[in-house]
């Protein structure tokens, strides 16, 4: 819950989301965040050293990017005296950064905070397996050539098998399920059909294609790498996707019999989104534009095995507290970790039994209008750089409200490990 002074989102930028293609992408996380932040700070009327704090969400910064927020802050020209910290709440890291920033502003601790998220999943580390590490330590201790030879003789080919950091990150160790398998649980629980899941995924691509064609992704900025290339659009979009092509894809998490495929899951992607949050004082002092008002936030937790329902668990108490009904919200951004998981959220709210048992409601919360949900595509087509998505959906939601000249919106996402987060934003119609 955000209590205290009003919190404004004045502006924000997002990098193109670049699909991971098996090899490390063109940017490391700090580089991408700096490239995203430069145009943002450049177009704002104050200098970087006016920023009071920098908060960045990132799940897997590179090994040389410890407290990546501080690295980003200094590289963007914030002063040595500007504190910066990195938050990690898995898939909601970027949203957590916004919430933390909002609370600090609301409490009066800061007036200008740069917050957002970055994730460069293509750079996720490949690790040595534990046996290899033990062997290396032994080898290091062997001082004489003879002992070295002896140590060498104990090296086994199996030790060389690497550990893929990304796969570890997408696996819940408590319930021993991969994220995709938690989505399979939802398919089972709500009896979802492959066709409706694929249909949702296809719509995500079509919506993104429309958004690109109509230049509805106002928040995008072009980023430049060091090799002389530039990137201006999300490159995970598959315009040629059809129901037939999606139907051909094999399930990847519950092999053979499952329904979750690479085509109806969020893409593994590199991306960054940064927002500037400000108090009323800062808005007046620097004569800042206002994109919207960040009104409230909510975090909820649930069984990790059905983490995909996190959004309904977070949004319900938030809306109740604000005395808002489903129709009071003009637009929704619910992160598409899996197409099935978004459909399951809709089903859960429409299901009076689920609402009674799990959401402390007397009846079903209602039917979520799909024409107001993720209207410009979502993570299935854009990609889901875990630490960045929370910031992306919030920023884009504000852009949608602005474009449609509407008032209220909710951004929400499910969080691996069994949580949900939601933010309520409002545009003051001027």
């Amino acid at each position: 819950m955000i209590k205290g002074r009003p919190v404004y989102i004045v502006d924000g930028t997002r990098s193109p989301f670049l699909k991971a293609r098996g090899t490390p992408g063109p940017f490391n996380a700090a580089d991408l965040a700096v490239e995203t932040g430069k145009p943002l700070l450049n177009r704002l009327p104050f200098s970087a050293d006016a920023i009071d704090e920098v908060i960045v969400g990132c799940v897997m910064p590179g090994p040389n990017e410890v407290n990546i927020a501080r690295i980003i802050a200094l590289r963007l020209g914030c002063s040595n005296e500007t504190p910066a910290w990195t938050v990690q709440r898995n898939c909601a890291s970027g949203m957590q950064a916004l919430d933390s920033a909002a609370r600090n502003i609301a409490q009066g601790d800061a007036n200008l905070i740069l917050a957002g998220g970055v994730e460069v999943m293509s750079h996720a580390p490949i690790l040595l397996n534990e046996q290899m590490i033990i062997w290396l330590a032994e080898f290091g201790r062997a001082r004489t050539p003879l002992k070295k030879i002896a140590a060498l003789s104990r090296l086994r080919p199996a030790y060389l098998k690497p550990v893929i950091g990304l796969i570890c990150g997408l696996h819940d160790p408590v319930v021993n399920l991969s994220m995709g398998q938690t989505a399979e649980n939802l398919v089972y629980q709500f009896d979802l059909k492959r066709r409706e899941i694929d249909h949702y995924a296809l719509a995500s691509h079509q919506r993104l294609a429309d958004a690109q064609d109509n230049k509805h992704l106002e928040e995008l900025v072009t980023v430049y790498d060091r090799a002389g290339k530039f990137y201006e659009n999300d490159d995970g979009l598959r315009r040629e996707s059809t129901m037939e092509s999606l139907a051909k894809l094999k399930p990847v998490f519950d092999r053979k019999y499952g329904k979750i495929t690479a085509g109806n899951s969020a893409q593994i992607t590199d991306g960054c989104a940064l927002l500037m949050l400000a108090s009323e004082k800062a808005v007046n002092q620097h004569k800042l534009p206002v994109l919207g008002h960040l009104c409230d936030s909510e975090w909820a937790a649930l069984d990790p095995a059905i983490m995909g329902l996190g959004p309904v668990h977070a949004m319900t108490p938030l809306l109740k507290r604000q005395r808002l009904k489903i129709d009071d919200i003009d637009y929704w951004e619910i992160n598409e970790a899996f197409a099935a998981q978004v459909i399951a959220c809709k089903r859960a709210w429409a299901d009076s039994k689920y609402c009674r048992q799990h959401l402390h409601l007397r009846t079903a919360f209602g039917e979520l209008d799909e024409s107001r949900l993720n209207i410009d595509g979502g993570s299935v087509s854009i990609g889901h750089p875990v630490g960045a998505s929370g910031a992306r959906i919030t920023l884009h939601l504000l852009e949608v409200l602005k474009r449609t000249n509407s008032r209220r919106g909710i951004a929400s996402l499910c969080i691996g490990g069994g949580q949900g987060g939601a933010l309520l934003v409002e545009r003051t119609n001027d």
């Binding site: 580089d31 700096v34 430069k38 145009p39 450049n42 177009r43 009327p45 200098s47 590289r75 963007l76 020209g77 072009t222 430049y224 790498d225 060091r226 090799a227 002389g228 290339k229 530039f230 201006e232």
Partner: protein
């Protein structure tokens, strides 16, 4: 009486002896911002060393009392006062003797090197038993760049220390050696961060490790049987870069080593004779003068009324090659740069070129990253309102620039400097659309920006003096040499270069072979022949500058050039110009190694000289010294010749004038001596 007192209490050196009886000798010249070995500094050092010889401490550490740099070398200004070889010889011998006094002290000696350590500074360090450098130290023996070689024992001491191959490489190239490679080659014994300098020095003094010496196989290079072979190889290498008749010093250095390579005593003596002789050569005199002229140019960029620190944010409009490279250069000098350009490819190319440049110049990853972070793509021009300096570098079109200046002017901060990088348009025409035309100044950078040290500060008729001074200070902040020039077509550098290039093209039309023309120029000492230069710069650019200058060139633009540009053969960048190019190299030049006739050289050079006289007459620059400096730093004009005006002086104004008259009879009006010769002839 006062003199005696001065001698007892040195002004420049501070001596401190600590509890361990280690003497810390710090050089902090009172009369200069940077340390160099002036007469006075050496006098004092001699007196101090004499005392130390009588009563040696446990150890001697020589260090700099200045934060910025150890010792930059000899005090080069004093070179100009040396009139004859005998005086010079005495001076060198004395310096060498003082270095010898350090070497012969009966205690361990150590040079604690922070930052820059060049020439005499390095020689002093070499005379110590140990050398400890900080991580940012840069060492070198760049005497060769002044047409001489080390004379304070630098040759005799560096060779046994580093081995002949490394030592000769450093001295022949005059290159700067950074701390880590210096450690690897043995030039310094340890590289430590500044905070550990004192501890490291104490460690060396107290533990007295064995003094460094080149490995046995490196010492082998100085064996009497190996020396002639290696010397021959070195001569061959040097001859690729410099001719003996132009640059005698490297050859003298090789001779010195070949003759005395295994006898230190003899080598020290020979160093003195060789250097004293070299210092009297016109080459060295000219190089020293050119070196000192840099200070004159730098002084234009120092204005007590202007704070260099106030330049923080540069906004460059136009991301072509020039705009992009200016942006990249500014960013490498710790300035925030917004690059206003809508073509994303152009911005991406800027980042690519910047990345390459930084890797080479800044080397360390964090510095490269920081410089790249300084460049901000700014298609919408948000940076304009925040910038302290705005540089216009869009394409050369009056209308486009007018539109731009009109839209830019109202958004500028009150203190912001507004500069145009135009090379062909007149400031007086550009500023007509401005409400405050006195704000506009020309900042003419040369291509390639990173390599060319000169920036012409173009004073338009309306340009305020304070604005011109601000522009010069900004150029100085960028580490460039500012040269104030009058606003006139071609300013100084292009104006002087163009007749020379045009004459080369006329020679092509007359059927002279391309390589022969180029060779005539390189034989004279130009870094590159005119045809190669034109191809490299781009024939389209040459043509546009030539057109711009057509009035001054008597309208003589060779048809050849126009045809090539029309055919899209623009030189290196398109693969064909006068030469054919492949991957930046000339393909199959018509290689006839014929020696070009003197007439060929004369036709090229005399047009350049004649134009120089015209520029002086018109007051494009203040005086002959500045003209020489501008032409050398702007075009690379044979530095050992000291610049066009110096060259005229050397061969005689009358002779040159006569030659011009003769050429004008043979080849036409374009050789007619400029009116400016009159004053020069009467002066002679």
């Amino acid at each position: 009486m006062t003199e005696k007192k001065d001698k007892n209490q040195p002004l420049h050196w501070h001596t401190e002896t600590d509890a361990d009886n280690i003497t810390w000798l710090s050089l902090d010249r009172v009369d200069a911002g940077a340390n160099s070995l002036s007469h006075a500094v050496l006098d004092e050092l001699k007196a101090i060393l004499e005392k130390l010889h009588k009563q040696p401490p446990t150890g001697l550490v020589i260090r700099s009392g200045k934060k910025k740099g150890f010792i930059y070398g000899a005090d080069i200004k004093e070179f100009t006062a040396l009139e004859d070889a005998a005086k010079t010889m005495a001076l060198i011998r004395r310096g060498q003797h003082i270095m010898g006094m350090i070497e012969s002290l009966h205690c361990p000696t150590l040079a604690l090197i922070n930052g820059v350590c060049m020439g005499g500074g390095t020689e002093l360090a070499l005379a110590c038993d140990y050398r400890v450098a900080d991580t940012d130290a840069r060492l070198g023996l760049p005497e060769i760049k002044l047409g001489i070689h080390p004379g304070f024992g630098g040759v005799a001491r560096s060779i046994p220390l580093l081995g002949a191959p490394a030592a000769m490489d450093i001295m022949l190239s005059g290159r700067t050696v950074f701390a880590s490679p210096a450690r690897r080659m043995g030039l310094v014994d340890a590289v430590v961060p500044l905070r550990q300098m004192e501890s490291a020095a104490r460690h060396f003094i107290s533990t007295r490790p064995k003094k460094h010496q080149a490995k046995w196989y490196l010492r082998l290079a100085s064996h009497p049987l190996v020396r002639p072979l290696l010397a021959r190889y070195l001569r061959k290498q040097v001859s690729k870069k410099a001719r003996k008749e132009h640059y005698p010093a490297p050859y003298a250095l090789i001779d010195l080593w070949q003759s005395h390579g295994s006898n230190k005593r003899a080598m020290l003596n020979a160093e003195v004779t060789s250097v004293s002789h070299l210092m009297m050569t016109p080459t060295s005199r000219n190089l020293v003068r050119v070196f000192l002229l840099q200070d004159r140019l730098k002084s234009f960029g120092k204005d007590p009324a202007i704070d260099e620190e106030a330049f923080q944010h540069v906004h460059v409009i136009g991301g072509g090659i020039m705009g992009g490279d200016i942006a990249a250069w500014c960013a490498s000098r710790d300035l925030t740069v917004t690059l206003q350009e809508t073509r994303k490819e152009a911005i991406a190319n800027t980042f690519q070129r910047a990345g390459k440049l930084y890797k080479k110049r800044l080397r360390l990853t964090h510095r490269v990253t920081s410089a790249l972070d300084n460049i901000i793509a700014d298609p919408d021009g948000h940076g304009l309102e925040k910038a302290d300096v705005v540089i216009e570098a869009i394409y050369e079109n009056m209308e486009a620039k007018h539109d731009l200046l009109k839209s830019v002017e109202p958004s500028l901060q009150a203190h912001a400097l507004l500069a145009s990088n135009t090379s062909s348009l007149m400031l007086e025409e550009l500023d007509t659309v401005m409400s405050a035309p006195q704000r506009l100044v020309g900042l003419h950078f040369f291509n390639p920006v990173a390599q060319m040290p000169l920036v012409e500060i173009v004073n338009g008729k309306q340009t305020a003096a304070s604005v011109a001074s601000q522009a010069a200070c900004f150029a100085h902040r960028l580490g460039k040499l500012p040269l104030p020039v009058k606003s006139s077509p071609g300013f100084l550098v292009n104006r002087i270069l163009m007749p020379y290039l045009m004459e080369a093209m006329i020679l092509v039309e007359e059927g002279v072979s391309l390589t022969n023309i180029d060779k005539a120029a390189t034989d004279f000492g130009m870094p590159m022949g005119p045809i190669t230069l034109a191809d490299t710069v781009g024939l389209d650019i040459c043509l546009s500058v030539a057109k711009n200058l057509s009035e001054k060139l008597d309208g003589s633009i060779p048809q050849h050039l126009i045809d090539k540009v029309d055919a899209g053969k623009l030189g290196k960048k398109t693969g064909t110009g006068f030469y054919r190019w492949n991957k930046g190299k000339i393909v199959n030049p018509d290689d006839n190694e014929k020696t070009p006739s003197t007439e060929l050289t004369d036709r090229l050079i005399l047009r350049l000289l004649n134009e120089s006289i015209a520029c002086l007459r018109e007051g494009i620059v203040e005086d002959a010294d500045l003209l020489d400096a501008g032409v050398i730093f702007g075009t690379g004009f044979a530095p050992f010749r000291g610049g066009p005006m110096r060259y005229i002086k050397e061969i005689g104004a009358k002779t040159t004038h006569n030659k011009l008259q003769q050429l004008s009879r043979q080849h036409g009006e374009r050789f007619a001596p400029d009116a400016g010769w009159e004053s020069l002839l009467t002066g002679e």
